[in-house]
Amino acid sequence: MTPPLEWYLVFSALLFAIGVVGVLVRRHVLVILMSVELMLNASNVALAAFSRYLNSMAGQVFVVFTITVAAAEAAVALAIILALARHKDTVDVREMDILKD
């Protein structure tokens, strides 16, 4: 028996919400980055589910692009974190405070 579409969408919405809360609440840069990835993957789950239930391939094509883009983005973000960590031995966003009003 295939679970109904709603289950996937609720699961995806939960993942997305966890990601949003993670970005807004957590202070460790790597955890923030993982939360962003969680948000992107929430979309992947929904896209794959939509694709299956709409019987349309476009959703799965979209997922492939999303995964690729997410990988590129993570690579860039990690490189930036590395460059910053070389200057200041911290991964806490509260200590990144040179730029502010």
Partner: protein, 496 residues
């Protein structure tokens, strides 16, 4: 070409779509240039550094020429409906390519003097320009997503390009984390758009959404709000602007100059196209929301800019304010009133010259050993009269002063708002742009009337001076000769 493959595969007839290569030729030219620049790294010991900017510039000029020759053509939709080249996309292509050309001109001296890897810089810059073109030409949700990311991710790298500078690192981190956050929100919106409509092409989505009378209205609305939020980050609209002052201040000034105009143009193009084409039928739902966003963006940008003591950060807030002005043109759009969109297009074009020029002048000051503080411009006129005049031209343009391109840009947008029945909004925008005079005049007064505080070194910056001269002259000349550009913007907005 299709028939070749039919034979090989027997009964299963596979017809490969024949893409229109002329339509994507500007992107091809830029891609070739980007790959060539990187390829030259292999031969680094044999090649002098000057080759990189030359290749990048050649690619940009070729792309500009290829976009210009297509201007008179009929709209082309190709790549199975993923890509649309029409006056609208060509207008934005020309805008971002000009931004790229000016950026290459002004960044040359910064790169050589600070020993920054040049090939990587130009390759990444070209990728961002390509992304902006793809964003403007996308006619499908997937192409839109890829375009927006291809435009944004390179700018995260460019922001952190001064990798031994902690400020640059910090700005890049904030920009990339918040940029990734906004991308995820945009993607979730696109996902729901696809899920509800079952389509990814704009015309098909528009057909499904209709006038919002059918079912799923709430879901379509949610999807369009998520898209507005996601793209709102990229154009730096309040309340999604938090990254802007930090990223703009921390990035190398030449990079700020480039990304403040090209990313904004690309994201605006994407926003205009998806809202008017895909979600055009439910404009009564998104238009009030955009009006609220436009008002808070104009108010916050203009008011906070007044209290800044760093010219670079002041210009960052001013760029938020300009997002608000441009949003006024889009927010008052309806199927019968496309003037606002032509105002947005013209504004994006004008903004390229004045804002790139203003940030470029700060880069020029830095190249001469000054900082970007408000004191650093003191007495610039007595030391370097031409630089002071060029800087003033750009600042007057941003203010919307007569005889600069800033005035027609603002007039077209506000006129459209008034014509769409929002006279109060036009008046409010006018009032807020008058507030801008307060902070744009401040550095000008210091340039002309104060005693010099910083002693300027005098290196030769010929290439940079050419770029800044083009930007300043463009700001002034387009203020008088704006009609050809505006005619083109009008054609682009009405789907010519």
């Amino acid at each position: 070409m299709g028939s070749l493959f039919t034979g090989a595969l027997g009964a299963a007839s596979v017809s490969l779509p024949q893409p229109n290569l002329l339509a994507i030729s500007p992107v091809i030219a830029l891609t070739v240039a980007a790959v060539l620049v990187l390829g030259c790294v292999i031969a680094r010991p044999l090649i002098r550094g000057v080759v990189y900017p030359v290749i990048a510039m050649a690619g940009l000029v070729a792309a500009l020429a290829l976009a210009l020759i297509q201007l008179g053509n009929r709209p082309v939709t190709t790549f199975s409906g993923n890509w649309r080249t029409d006056a609208f996309s060509l207008f934005f292509t020309i805008t971002v390519v000009i931004a790229g050309i000016l950026a290459v001109l002004i960044s040359d001296s910064w790169l050589t003097e600070n020993d920054v890897p040049q090939a990587e810089f130009y390759a990444v810059l070209l990728c961002s320009v390509i992304g902006a073109i793809v964003s403007a030409s996308a006619y499908n949700l997937i192409a839109l997503f890829v375009g927006i990311e291809l435009m944004s991710v390179p700018t995260y790298i460019l922001t952190g390009f001064a990798k031994h500078n902690r400020v640059s690192n910090e700005a890049a981190l904030k920009y990339s984390l918040l940029g990734g956050f906004s991308t995820a929100i945009l993607l979730y919106g696109l996902t729901w758009t696809y899920g509800v409509t079952g389509e990814t092409g704009y015309p098909a989505i528009r057909g499904f959404v209709g006038n919002g009378q059918g079912g799923f209205h709430a879901a379509v609305l949610l999807a369009s709000m998520l898209v507005i939020a996601g793209l709102g980050f990229k154009i730096a609209a309040v309340p999604f602007h938090m990254w802007t002052p930090d990223a703009y201040q921390g990035a190398p000034t030449v990079v700020t100059a480039f990304m403040s105009v090209s990313v904004k143009a690309g994201a605006f193009a994407a926003l205009v196209r998806i809202l008017t084409d895909a979600f055009g039928g439910i404009y009564r739902d998104w238009s009030p929301i955009l009006i609220v966003i436009a008002i808070v963006t104009m108010v916050l940008g203009n008011v906070v800019a007044i209290v800044q003591n760093d010219v670079k950060r002041m210009l960052a807030y001013s760029s938020i304010a300009h997002t608000g002005f441009m949003l006024v043109g889009l927010a008052t759009w309806n199927p019968g009133n496309a003037v606002g969109v032509s105002g947005v297009l013209f504004y994006a074009f004008a903004y390229t010259f004045m804002n790139l020029g203003a940030f470029g002048m700060l880069a020029w000051l830095e190249a001469h050993g000054a900082g970007t503080g408000i004191d650093d411009v003191n007495g610039l006129f007595s030391r370097a009269p031409l630089a002071a005049l060029g800087f003033s031209a750009c600042l007057l343009g941003l203010m919307g002063f007569p005889f600069t391109v800033g005035l027609p840009a603002k007039v077209f947008v506000f006129q459209a708002a008034a014509g769409g029945g929002y006279v109060w909004l036009a008046l409010l925008s006018l009032l807020l742009s008058a507030v801008g005079a307060v902070y744009y005049f401040r550095p000008m007064v210091r340039m002309f009337m104060h005693e010099p505080k910083v002693v300027l070194a005098s290196p030769r910056q010929t290439v940079m001076a050419v770029g800044l001269g083009v930007a300043a002259l463009g700001t002034v000349l387009l203020g008088v000769l704006f009609s050809p550009v505006f005619d083109l913007a009008q054609r682009a907005a009405t789907g010519g």
